[in-house]
């Protein structure tokens, strides 16, 4: 599949609109919407004329990032870039979901560079905001808090994705077509195992005693009882509520 210049540009815009900190769709719809490959991939699919395929690829690329967290500005990877450019390249090359994950993950790592640049360059604008604050000029402060950082970020987001989607599609298609079968099999296994990272990272955040046991409980509920996610979630809410109420009854903390 060919990606036209206009399509490549639009994909860049989708990535920009989803990147952490863009204000145009609210923080929530950016960071929890377009930034997540499930949503970003679907919209890329619409741009490339096949929303269903975009949705399938995007949902798959989202798997390793299902438990993704950006805490205090420290982001281990960039699902936004993986979901937009990754879906575009995977659709252009016509690969299946597992291989799409392997294409997207390295992009996600590259994407952290864009994030780090954003967090660093913005330091300049904070100092202009300081000046505005010293002058008591709230309008000027609000301006420097919004426009300059966003213009810089738009350029940093749209340009690389445009280049990647417009020129990269042929390269990726070529490379994938030439890969021997066992290499493809390797990539597929990688795609299957990478969600483990995101889950382990999240589990690490939970320091409460016994968290590994609760983890295994959830694992077994799905593996053996084959409960759907919503059922596990409801079970979890009731279980956590009951446990906590009993625990707190004596006023313990």
């Amino acid at each position: 599949m060919q990606i036209s210049a206009l399509q490549a540009f639009l994909i860049g815009v989708v990535y920009y609109l989803g990147e952490v900190g863009t204000p145009w769709l609210t923080f929530l719809v950016s960071y929890c919407g377009l930034y997540r490959p499930l949503i970003g991939g679907t919209i890329v699919g619409i741009i490339l004329g096949d929303p269903v395929q975009g949705c399938i690829i995007g949902a798959s690329i989202n798997l390793p990032y299902i438990a993704f967290m950006n805490v205090g500005g420290a982001a281990p990877s960039n699902p936004g870039l993986a979901g937009t450019l990754g879906t575009a390249l995977a659709m252009a090359a016509g690969v299946g979901p597992s291989v799409a994950i392997s294409i997207a993950m390295p992009l996600g790592l590259l994407g952290t560079l864009i994030w780090i640049a954003h967090m660093s360059i913005d330091v300049l604008f904070v100092h202009v905001c300081d000046k505005a604050a010293a002058e008591g000029d709230i309008e000027k402060l609000a301006f420097w808090n919004l426009w300059p950082p966003q213009i810089v970020m738009a350029i940093m987001c749209i340009v690389p994705v445009f280049i990647g989607a417009y020129y990269g599609a042929d390269v990726v298609t070529d490379v994938i077509a030439k890969l021997p079968e066992n290499i493809m099999n390797g990539l597929q296994v990688v795609g299957g195992v990478l969600p483990a990272i995101g889950i382990a990272m999240n589990l690490r955040q939970i320091t409460r005693q016994g968290s590994l046991l609760y983890f295994i409980l959830g694992f077994i509920l799905v593996m053996y009882l084959e409960l759907p996610m919503i059922a596990v979630a409801i079970f979890g809410v009731i279980f956590a509520y009951t446990y906590t109420s009993l625990y707190m009854k004596d006023g313990r903390v």
Partner: protein, 281 residues
């Protein structure tokens, strides 16, 4: 604080729309100028523009002081953390009307609350609500059902905005003392505890659903053939391989203190080699 509100005649009264407008501003701009030096400082200040204009519109010195005071380092989770904005708005309103509240008091409330609320907020939101809803959305989306992304985003925005709006308004309504009362009680501890238990259970479910690892090896001894996966691994523990991959990553990160990037590298290379050799498939 609410009591004080009645005692002191407020000359510079904020309207409800000032408070709501600030909330809406914050929803849009909470990270526009996010940076390593002071994180959300200028975003916090800018979001309170309607409040500052009302309170200090005809008091240039008061405005200068207020703006400079809020340019200090600030970082919190943007939805649950909105309670801080609510409290700060209430305090600024009091201060502008001559209540004996120092700038330091306002700043210490901010720094005191931003850490704990970021912790609670991130666990509840990024760590629990988002993964659960994503799991539902992904399980539909991966089948090519466009309702997956749609349901995900609709549920997410309605849940999060409801929480964020109410938390913001509650902060303004209750002020410092009311919030301190809530924070010093068992409520926050209970919420953290419930969220971590729920989070761990959900993560387990996610691991079982979405980590995909099995072996295609078939053991052949003479006439006797036995597939490794269904013949040996599954009877021991269904999902043994995915569980191993998760616990290995967990062990490397938590106990060995390795960076997630390095663990990802190890998993990537390991899985690739084993897959290419046909041991995993």
């Amino acid at each position: 604080m609410t009591k004080n509100n009645e005692d002191i005649k407020l000359e510079k009264k904020l309207t409800k729309s000032d408070v709501v407008k600030s909330f809406i501003r914050w929803s849009f701009i909470s990270h526009t100028n996010y940076n390593y030096e002071r994180l959300q400082a200028s975003m916090f200040t800018s979001s309170l523009k309607p409040v500052f204009k009302r309170l200090y519109g005809d008091d240039p010195d008061g405005m200068k002081e207020a703006l400079q005071r809020h340019m200090a380092f600030f970082n919190t989770e943007p939805h649950f953390g909105g309670v801080i904005h609510g409290i700060v708005i209430a305090m600024e309103e009091q201060k502008a009307n001559g209540a004996p509240i120092t700038g330091e008091a306002i700043n210490s409330i901010k720094t005191g609350l931003m850490g704990p609320l970021a912790g609670v907020g991130d666990t509840l939101w990024q760590g629990t609500i988002v993964p659960i809803l994503l799991a539902i959305g992904i399980s539909l989306g991966i089948e090519g059902n466009l309702l997956g992304p749609l349901i995900y985003i609709l549920l997410l925005t309605s849940i999060m905005w409801t929480i964020a709006y109410n938390v913001w308004m509650k902060g303004y309504e209750l002020g410092t003392e009311g919030i301190q009362k809530i924070l010093s009680g068992n409520l926050i501890q209970s919420v953290i505890m419930s969220a971590s238990i729920l989070g761990a259970i959900v993560l387990g479910a996610l691991g079982a659903s979405f980590v995909n690892l099995s072996s295609p090896i078939v053991i052949t001894i003479g006439q006797f053939q036995m597939p490794l996966q269904s013949g040996i691994i599954d009877p021991i523990l269904k999902g043994l391989l995915p569980l191993t991959a998760i616990f290995l990553s967990y062990y490397l990160m938590k106990v060995k203190r390795m960076k997630s990037l390095h663990v990802m590298g190890i998993l990537f290379v390991g899985a690739f080699i084993l897959g290419a050799l046909g041991i995993l498939g």
